[in-house]
């Protein structure tokens, strides 16, 4: 077990600790959520994080969860279907982003994004139907903090995954084997165990990949053949398509099927799987370079709890290592974190993506596509590189520009046609959320503590105060006096904060 963080007089669960926990475990906590967490304390906050939410399908219920026909055969129908589906896909992305924006304090959407990168699937590769994207997202929501072994079973039967990694094309027909190794390989290499263990020994051979692929045959669900029964939720196991002969997989010999292959993998490579997943969780929640001892502690919790994710996550998020000063403000905000972060933290209005009636494409989705983090558009099947790559130079300059435009209410839109005002930022309403609205020197510190993840240095405090004072005196500050140019000075202070390198971090 990792040493737990026990709040004390020296190390209280204060605004800084609460915002650290919520920035990591949720996506961009608001000032009010942080204050409430401080009020409720660490233990209650940890409990809250494991609550799941379903905000409903209202935005997309004209098509979500309903029977999804196969592509129309004639050309006119196909063209109609194509454009309708394209719109549905767009709506789906926007609905997902709304879920991130609107879900109360919970690990759910943070973990959904994490697992989406882990089980990366690409809309361009055989799964362009919106229904597939929706169903897999719902699966990620359902399983994100559940049992990892069960998760692997479910994802193996997920249509989007099977279509993406060719599992339907691995089968037996009239006694002849058509074995496709694609899914078997990625299931082991990317989803569970990795190619190498910690000592760079191979976790499996090419023969194991082939044998696993034989065991995993039999899944199929061609809509045209299943007719009305078809729902893109699960594919069906068709015994005639399964290779029923003997396989030797990771040293165990028998007539293995999908359940056996997964069982054997988790039996024979338990330690390696636990370490592989806990390393990833470490990088997601604590820092880029996993600490070996911490990973091993987490891995043993993972194994002894029979692959349940909750105990691991609870131990990790409640640990001293997690709350350590050196772990704070070291992760790089992903592009989704960054944009939705500004929307949530600054309470931005008129975001094009969140207006169902509009015909034009969303602005966040277009930005994400441009910045390289649109959902279901991973750079490749291993997902997003993340870590320092989130702030590589060309994206960094776009990020800096976006934040500066937001706080000045001058967002240059990359979508069209240009609406009168988007990402509307109500500066005074924002400032009024803070206790020290009548003291600019303290207000600047409050802003910075809200928006930046690290302990401020004296120089930084002076810099932000200088920006808000703008040559004026503290006692002259009057929020209702137009001559004081309060709004302009707040913007100046916020510009200085969002231009700080730590604004890229959390």
């Amino acid at each position: 077990m990792l040493k737990a963080f026990v709040p004390s007089i020296d190390h209280p669960y204060d605004y800084a600790s609460a915002s650290h926990l919520l920035r990591r475990a949720t996506i961009a906590p608001t000032h009010e959520e942080i204050l409430q967490s401080v009020e409720e304390g660490l233990s209650k906050t940890l409990d809250n994080l494991f609550v799941s939410f379903d905000l409903g399908d209202e935005y997309i219920d004209e098509w979500s969860g309903k029977y999804s026909p196969t592509y129309p055969q004639n050309e006119v129908d196909y063209v109609n279907w194509f454009w309708t589906n394209k719109r549905h896909v767009e709506m789906f992305y926007q609905w997902w982003l709304m879920n991130i924006r609107d879900t109360p304090v919970s690990l759910q959407e943070r973990l959904v994004l994490f697992w989406h990168g882990h089980f990366a699937t690409d809309v361009k590769m055989n799964i362009e139907v919106a229904q597939h994207l929706y169903v897999q997202y719902r699966l990620l929501q359902k399983m994100c903090m559940g049992n990892f072994k069960a998760f692997i079973k479910e994802i193996t039967q997920n249509m989007a995954m099977e279509l993406f990694l060719s599992l339907h094309y691995s089968y037996v027909h009239e006694g002849k084997k058509y074995i496709n190794e694609n899914y078997a390989r990625e299931m082991m290499e990317l989803h569970t165990v990795g190619i190498f263990d910690e000592n760079n020994n191979r976790n499996y051979t090419q023969k194991d990949v082939y044998e696993a692929a034989r065991g995993l045959t039999g899944w199929f669900s061609k809509p045209s053949e299943l007719g009305e029964e078809y729902l893109p939720k699960f594919s069906r196991f068709i015994p005639e398509r399964w290779d029923d002969s003997e396989k030797t997989y990771l040293g165990q010999t028998g007539k293995w099927n999908t359940d056996d292959i997964i069982r054997i993998l988790f039996e024979e490579r338990a330690e390696q799987i636990a370490v592989y997943i806990c390393k990833k969780l470490y990088s997601e929640f604590i820092g880029d370079e996993p600490d070996k001892n911490i990973v091993h502690e987490l891995a043993s919790t993972f194994k002894s709890n029979n692959w349940e994710l909750k105990p691991v996550l609870r131990e990790l998020l409640g640990s001293e290592a997690f709350f350590h000063e050196d772990s704070r403000g070291v992760l790089k905000k992903s592009r989704i974190d960054y944009i939705i972060g500004m929307v949530r933290q600054c309470d931005l209005q008129d975001v094009p993506d969140f207006h169902k009636e509009q015909v034009r494409p969303g602005d966040i989705t277009m930005r994400l596509e441009f910045w390289g983090q649109l959902m279901y558009n991973p750079p490749n099947v291993s997902g997003w590189k993340g870590k320092r790559d989130w702030v590589n130079p060309s994206v960094l300059s776009r990020r800096l520009q976006f934040a500066r435009e937001v706080v000045q209410n001058k967002v240059f839109t990359i979508s069209y046609p240009t609406p009168p005002s988007i990402y509307r930022f109500d500066v005074l309403k924002f400032a009024n959320r803070f206790e020290n609205i009548n003291n600019p020197a303290l207000l600047a510190i409050e802003f910075a503590n809200y928006l930046l993840p690290h302990t401020l240095t004296t120089d930084e405090v002076l810099q932000f105060q200088e920006a808000i004072l703008d040559g004026g005196k503290v006692y002259e500050w009057d929020i209702n006096d137009p001559k004081q140019r309060v709004e302009e000075r707040i913007v100046k202070c916020l510009l200085s904060i969002v231009s700080h390198p730590a604004f890229q971090l959390y």
């Binding site: 590769m125 094309y169 290499e189 320092r388 130079p393 960094l396 300059s397 231009s499 390198p501 971090l505």
Partner: protein, 506 residues
């Protein structure tokens, strides 16, 4: 044109010496290596450019360069229950100089390049213990490491590191390398810094950032990283923006809806407009991973490559910059001979194409031996991909061996002369056999050899028994040497000479 002195200076400037290595003699030896001698028909070294175009997903080599007289190919690929995966002889574009292989019919432009003598085709390229994972094999190709070694840096990153040792404090005005991706790959990762700039679309120039704090841990360290990236971004984008604003135009229409073509058109404009980056790296979408529908999808993928590269070569010739550019077309692995269903699975060896006005065109290496597959049914390699890297670095970039140290030295010995470099100087020794096991003979145009020294690649001097034979040169007993690459430095009259050989175990 550069003088020999300038060349030598360039060579000596590259590469920070590694500790514990006696570089004085080795450096000197390598600086005098005849491969680095100047030729009048080559452009100055600092003007030379390499464009790396990676066909992501594993290109099916057998269907790219088709062995159209090979019965085994047609038997196994053609007689396939999932549909023929072979390219019929009538659909093969014949090329000059061979009656046994030809291009896939989607590649008329590359065929013309070959017939014009502007393309070297290196057959059966791979490495020992081929890894069948996209990502692991890509890492191996980008780093240049052995399959069982883990190297974070990339082969171009290490080269550029030796050229720009102070990049983090003072980046050069022009980015050393450009990747048309959203993130910098391992290719351009040095041991400490990255040397590439991910450039896609119009990017705003960020403000010049403040100074870094030189922190070694915690949030400040990551903030420093952000500042470094912002500084690079600031410097590079100022240059790029200025160049884009005064850019020359492409001389012809590139194929439409073809992102490879768009990126290559961009490379041509940037180089012609004076950008001094020496490496451009492009990656295709995952369009070569044809587990299914090989005939259809591979045809489309090759068309994209062929039309784009064909237009590029014509364009750079029109722009008068063709003699400065070499384009390399490669993939992380080839695919298996035997199809699975309607496609092919991850395989091993495959062809690499090197294109340019200064390329010694032709076929290098034997045709694939379909009778001699490895245990998993994969094509065996006979050219190591690092032999190609060694040629590009030494004969095109004029790199001294240190920059390739120590990974490529053995391959430097076996580099393939596909670049139009001048003929070897008269003092180059003949070493045979090479590689050798127990002994080898060094001779030098029937001239007398007065003395001979032998160095390991670590720079250590060896003194095995030498037998001077006036008519045949010197016999060296290499049985005492460990296997690996060795350099020799000798005197003939008052003329120094240098060479290298590989010792293999019996």
């Amino acid at each position: 044109m550069m003088t020999r002195r300038q060349i030598l200076r360039t060579i000596l400037q590259t590469g920070a010496a590694l500790p514990f290595v006696n570089y004085t003699s080795l450096n000197h030896a390598l600086a005098r290596d005849p491969i680095l001698a100047l030729s009048d028909n080559l452009p100055p070294i600092e003007d030379r450019v390499i464009v790396l175009l990676r066909m992501f997903g594993g290109n099916d080599g057998l269907n790219t360069l088709v062995p159209f007289t090979n019965d085994i190919y047609y038997k196994i690929r053609g007689d396939n229950p999932g549909g023929s995966c072979a390219i019929a002889p009538k659909d093969v574009l014949r090329i000059s100089g061979t009656d046994s292989v030809g291009f896939h019919h989607a590649m008329p432009e590359l065929r013309n390049c070959f017939d014009d003598g502007k393309m070297a085709i290196l057959q059966n390229v791979g490495y020992p213990n081929q890894d069948l994972s996209h990502f692991r094999s890509t890492d191996i190709w980008l780093s240049g490491s052995d399959a069982d070694k883990f190297e974070e840096s990339g082969w171009m990153g290490r080269y550029l590191e030796s050229k720009y040792p102070h990049i983090s404090e003072s980046p050069p005005l022009h980015p050393p390398a450009i990747e048309f991706t959203r993130s910098v790959s391992r290719l351009l990762q040095g041991s400490q810094n990255q040397y590439g700039f991910a450039y896609r679309g119009t990017v705003p120039v960020p403000e010049k950032p403040g100074n870094s704090t030189k922190a070694t841990f915690g949030s400040k360290r990551e903030q420093d990283y952000v500042l470094t990236m912002q500084n690079q971004s600031h410097v590079y984008l100022k240059t790029l923006t200025a160049i884009e604003e005064n850019s020359v135009k492409n001389t012809l229409q590139y194929p439409k809806n073809n992102t490879v073509g768009e990126d290559l058109a961009h490379v041509a404009r940037l180089v012609a407009s004076g950008l001094e980056s020496s490496v451009f790296s492009l990656v295709t979408d995952n369009m070569f991973d044809n587990h299914e529908g090989l005939i259809l999808y591979h045809d489309q993928a090759l068309k994209i490559i062929d039309s784009a590269v064909g237009a590029f070569q014509q364009d750079i010739e029109n722009l008068g910059i063709a003699d400065r550019i070499v384009l390399v077309l490669y993939s992380e692995f080839g695919r298996r001979l035997a199809p699975t269903g309607s496609g092919t699975d991850h395989g091993a060896a495959g062809p690499v194409f090197v294109i340019g006005s200064n390329i010694k065109g032709g076929l290098y290496g034997k045709n694939p031996d379909l009778n001699n597959l490895d245990a998993d049914g994969n094509l065996r390699f006979d050219t190591d991909f690092r032999q190609i890297y060694a040629t590009l670095l030494s004969s095109w970039f004029g790199v001294s061996a240190e920059a390739m140290f120590p990974m490529f030295l053995p391959h430097l010995v076996n580099k393939i002369s596909f670049i139009n470099s001048p003929s070897l100087s008269e003092t180059a020794p003949l070493i045979s056999p090479n590689p050798c096991t127990t002994k080898c003979t060094v001779s030098i145009h029937s001239k007398e050899i007065n003395s001979l020294k032998i160095f390991s690649i670590e720079g250590r001097q060896y003194e095995p028994s030498l037998r001077f034979n006036q008519s045949y040169g010197v016999d060296i007993d290499v049985s005492v040497l460990a296997s690996g690459a060795y350099y020799i430095e000798g005197m003939s009259g008052n003329q120094k000479f240098h060479g290298s050989f590989v010792k293999m175990t019996q």
